[in-house]
């Protein structure tokens, strides 16, 4: 109940800014259509909607980092958070209440990208398992936003957020498979959870069994749990700073 009250306020706050929401949804779709039209001309497999859609979805999620960080940083600066810190809410309540509003958005991003991908000719399998992978990937991005929002100001979010969106786009292998980049890029990419989410989703969507992507799944799961705990600690730190 306590969590839902704050979550419901956060939902109103997030969805009262439709321009950002539209950007988070429209830009990846535009990219999906653009790369698919390139694919039609040059027949590069990596630009096929089948291969491109999972990467685009993760790229979509990168926007969640910015949205969630902005929400928290704004509340931090408006003194509303100070008031809420004097209520019996615990740091874990806060984090859950700030994560919840972004989950429907992550679901819409996933659904729209999959629908557009299918319209462009992709065929997808194991959709429920893919949704589980994307659920944890979304949690990773939202928690990253929470951590960022705990430490930096609203003005700093746009700069740092843009940098992270670009980095995630690059290191998740959304446009170019990491194996093609090789070297340091591949090492860094696979040390992060995003490329694992893309690989796992690609595998499942093209018919691989869950056991084949289990390694990727555990990698994502551990990252999601670790970042959730880290987000709680960041929030606790912020609460102690008053």
């Amino acid at each position: 109940m306590k969590i839902f009250s704050l979550a419901s306020r956060n939902i109103k706050e997030v969805y009262r800014d439709p321009v950002s929401m539209l950007l988070g949804l429209a830009m990846p779709i535009a990219l999906l259509i653009l790369f698919s039209s390139i694919h039609k001309k040059v027949q590069l497999d990596m630009f096929s909607p089948q291969m491109l859609t999972p990467g685009i979805i993760i790229f979509c999620f990168a926007f969640l980092i910015m949205f969630s960080a902005i929400l928290l940083a704004k509340d931090k600066e408006s003194a509303l958070l100070t008031r809420l810190f004097t209520t019996p809410l615990k740091p874990s309540d806060f984090i859950l209440a700030y994560i919840l509003p972004f989950l429907p958005l992550a679901f819409f991003q996933t659904a729209i990208c999959l629908i557009v991908g299918a319209i462009l000719g992709a065929t997808f399998q194991h959709l429920i398992l893919v949704c589980i992978i994307f659920f944890f990937a979304a949690i990773i991005c939202i928690c990253l936003g929470m951590i960022l929002g705990s430490f930096i100001t609203v003005n700093q979010v746009s700069g740092v957020g843009s940098l992270l969106i670009t980095a995630i786009g690059l290191f998740c292998g959304a446009w170019t498979p990491l194996k093609m980049m090789g070297g340091v890029f591949e090492t860094i990419g696979y040390a992060l959870p995003f490329a694992h989410a893309v690989d796992a989703a690609k595998g499942l969507l093209t018919g691989s069994s869950f056991s084949n992507i289990l390694g990727n799944f555990y990698f994502i799961l551990i990252y999601a749990l670790a970042l959730f705990v880290l987000a709680i600690f960041s929030f606790r730190w912020r609460m102690k700073r008053g």
Binding site: K2, E13, R83, P88, M239
Partner: protein, 312 residues
């Protein structure tokens, strides 16, 4: 055994930021149902005290109890019985008045029906209309009233009001004072202010804080009595010549004259000598009145600083 009538008690409460003592071994006792005011300049340490008492900041040394709960050991229990209106207007700007109140009801775990009822009552008490506008579009005074109403939503036993009228025009300030006065005796209120008038008119007990320390405390009347820096005597007369005024000034007295009165200020007033002097000069005395110092004079005497019109 702890006195049951004490709502807030601090014990050498101290906060150090780096090398700076923001609050230095503060000891205060606030009785239940009392309005207690911490009066001091900006940066004196008032907000830091409130933040420690609300469990937002951990003390560096010392501790405090709120209704018997120790701020170091039982922050969650304390948060259930307090209401806080921070210095900045802490409202959710995009929500309506009612939504803001329901948000606080929700985070305190109140049932929806009870929340709606309390929100309605508080909107009536604070004369806040159930407008569909977002709270950010309300006037400064209404936002302050909403902020106080939000602090009351959980029906707290203790209310912390940090500079509740900061930045408001005199009318809006007076109206907020009226609402605070309505809560007198029902709640224990700790309010910080740098408006002397505010402390004087609202508080049962005032503590003057300067450079992180409480330099004196008592009721407004006690403070005025205890810290008379100068004495004032107002004498009503018909006419007085400049020679006579010069005679008084030559005795080391500071004078303020109007058409038919003289106000004499002096560190030590020799009442009889003044009256004798005026009578020997054949001045007809129509009335004599000893004047109390104002709280501002007490504050000036103790801190050597003006507080009025700062940071407005």
């Amino acid at each position: 055994m702890e006195n049951n009538n004490i709502a807030i008690k601090t014990n050498d409460l101290t906060k150090i930021f780096g090398k700076r003592n923001a609050v230095d071994a503060i000891n205060i006792k606030i009785n239940r149902g009392e309005i207690f005011s911490l009066l001091g300049k900006n940066g004196a340490g008032k907000t830091t005290i409130i933040k420690m008492l609300c469990c937002l900041l951990r003390p560096s040394f010392g501790t405090a109890t709120i209704m018997g709960y120790d701020i170091r050991k039982s922050p969650l229990e304390i948060k259930r019985i307090i209401g806080v209106s921070p210095q900045e207007t802490a409202i959710a700007g995009h929500l309506t008045t009612k939504e803001n109140l329901l948000l606080i009801g929700g985070v305190f775990g109140l049932k929806r029906g009870l929340s709606i009822e309390r929100a309605k009552n508080l909107m009536e008490l604070m004369e806040l209309e159930d407008r569909k506008d977002q709270a950010q579009k309300l006037s400064g005074g209404m936002q302050r009233r909403l902020s106080i109403a939000m602090a009351l939503m959980s029906e707290p036993q203790i209310l912390f009001l940090d500079e509740p009228t900061l930045g408001l025009d005199p009318n809006a300030r007076k109206s907020v004072w009226n609402y605070i006065n309505k809560l007198k005796r029902e709640k224990t209120i700790l309010l910080t202010t740098h408006y002397l008038e505010e402390a004087d008119s609202l508080a049962d007990h005032i503590a003057i804080i300067d450079h992180a320390q409480i330099i004196t405390s008592g009721t407004s009347a006690e403070l005025k009595h205890k810290h008379k820096s100068t004495q004032s005597l107002k004498i009503s007369v018909d006419n007085i010549s400049s020679d006579i005024l010069d005679g008084l000034m030559n005795r080391g007295m500071e004078l303020i004259t109007t058409m038919n009165s003289i106000v004499i200020n002096s560190v030590e007033l020799d009442f009889y000598s003044i009256i004798n002097y005026l009578q020997t000069k054949n001045i007809k005395i129509k009335g004599i009145q000893m004047q109390e110092p104002t709280l501002e004079e007490v504050f000036l005497y103790l801190t050597g600083k003006e507080v009025k019109n700062e940071n407005l």
